[in-house]
Symmetry: C2
Subunit: 307 residues, 2 copies
């Protein structure tokens, strides 16, 4: 019989996804990031860190036998420096794609079809239709084209949009443009969909100069990170009535109550909820179940990231 390896997972019901039994060779405890963790942590080899829970991170200091850390976020900034070089680190790349892409799409549709306006009329019991913009036939420039961008693109193509892919470096064989092409691309955009991560290279990437390249009435959508946009420059373009915006992330964040963005016309703000929908958990649970099976079988794990 194989030796038993101790693992920590965040959900007791995960066992239901594994056919009612944990894989042979694993001893599984549940720790959801709140309350008391299990007592005996000395031999924990795999820790699936609970999502969005502050207690989760503190446990890292109490796992001397840790061999694999699985986080459920795409970014790993929070754990860098908190685990030894021999600990294998796996991230949650792909688990947030559907949730983030669908909010981006929802923001675009809401802005183009004026859903906040109709909702405001609803509060006044007012039936007062007019023609609106549409999303179909739009040209959408995706900044930071990656797995979320690809998930967004699939949705946009079904919505009869043209999609232009932009990433940090051009990859002509995948029809991906680099930033040096933006002077030709941005003037064609009906919508800019920003899914850029926050790095030193992307700070205020969407600046006054690039915003000025957009045609009148273009919609700036941000589901990436607030710091990738020069907020003052964006506020100016919106206040003048030239551009519109739908923002799930802002800089600063949370947006202070006295920030001018809140009250500008043609701005829709959601409070960083792109990844936070019910579609995350089924994907995360299926992924973790698969990782546990691979771990128990001694197979190569998925989503390994260097650190």
């Amino acid at each position: 019989m194989a030796s038993t390896r101790h693992v920590l997972v965040p959900w007791a019901h995960l066992v239901d996804r594994m056919g009612g039994e944990w894989p042979d060779g694993l001893r599984v405890d549940v720790y959801d990031g709140e309350g008391e963790p299990p007592r005996d942590l000395d031999d924990v080899e795999l820790y699936v860190m609970p999502y969005a829970n502050p207690g989760a991170l503190a446990l890292l200091d109490r796992l001397p036998s840790l061999k694999v850390l699985q986080v459920l976020t795409a970014g790993v900034d929070a754990v860098i420096g908190r685990i030894g070089p021999d600990v294998r680190l796996c991230n949650g790349r792909g688990l947030h794609d559907a949730s983030t892409a669908e909010l981006a799409l929802g923001l675009m549709l809401a802005a183009q079809r004026e859903i906040p306006h109709w909702a405001a009329n609803q509060r006044e019991h007012k039936w007062d239709p007019h023609f609106t913009r549409s999303l179909a036939d739009s040209v959408v420039v995706i900044l930071g084209y990656g797995s979320i961008g690809a998930a967004l693109e699939r949705r946009l193509l079904a919505c009869e949009c043209e999609v232009i892919r932009v990433a940090s470096r051009p990859r002509p064989e995948e029809n991906i443009y680099g930033p040096e092409s933006l002077p030709e691309l941005l003037p064609r955009a009906t919508v800019v969909a920003n899914v850029l991560p926050s790095t030193p290279a992307t700070a205020k990437f969407v600046n006054a100069e690039r915003l000025a390249l957009l045609p009148d009435d273009a919609l700036v959508v941000n589901v990436g990170r607030g710091a990738t946009v020069d907020t003052d420059a964006l506020v100016k373009e919106i206040a003048s009535g030239r551009l519109r915006a739908a923002l799930d992330v802002t800089d600063p964040e949370p947006l202070p109550a006295d920030h001018p963005l809140w009250a500008l016309p043609n701005v829709l703000i959601t409070p960083h909820v792109a990844g936070g929908s019910s579609t995350f958990y089924p994907r995360a649970e299926k992924f973790v179940a698969d990782q546990l099976r691979r771990f128990a079988a001694g197979e190569e794990l998925a989503n390994i990231v260097p650190h």
Copy 2:
């Protein structure tokens, strides 16, 4: 040289879509449904009736040589009885699909991701995130599956939904169920997307009994016709907190200011704007340009409907 045939179109700029010249053999006048029509109407053979304009219909009585009437709506109720039996009638089937399907999708995303709630918080400058439902992983039952339903389905599949097709008669070879299957299908629905036309057979099709088959928290979307839903039964299910709704059409319509639907929680109302977006015109213009070419060339026209 072929004889010249007189036609009326609603847009002067249509000539730009035809390479800058009207097709040989046509004499084209423009009438947009407002103001004075052209004087000489006796020899008009083809009339492309302006969209959503009351003057358009009155002109029908002044076209003694009419051979083809092209309307831009899918329904032809308004012109039935106003043209002779020898006049060929063509409708606008397909021209509204993208606009209607994208509003249906926008309503679903807005309801699942709580965009009206975030917009209300925005008015109070309040950043207060929470987890929401998602659209991905939903099971969407489309009632009245046709060309709009197919356009909606393409969007929903890209959004990682499962789609169940229901029409007036089952067509197993196309995976289309009939109404007799609803007792098995409705309990599986996360969302019901109603795109039913208004006919005697569809009056109050979505009744108390069928609503009762839906699981708790299901979302009822209507972009078809208000009369296909038993509004009182729907109000009851929503008022009890069991179901939610996103409605572009209502019964009665316009919805009176004192109607209970306006103020129910978990209801989103748009004022019959599904077809009314900018994506309609490019499609309508391209279609009419193609019809004119076919007419000038003596070819069979598209979208002929019996009357």
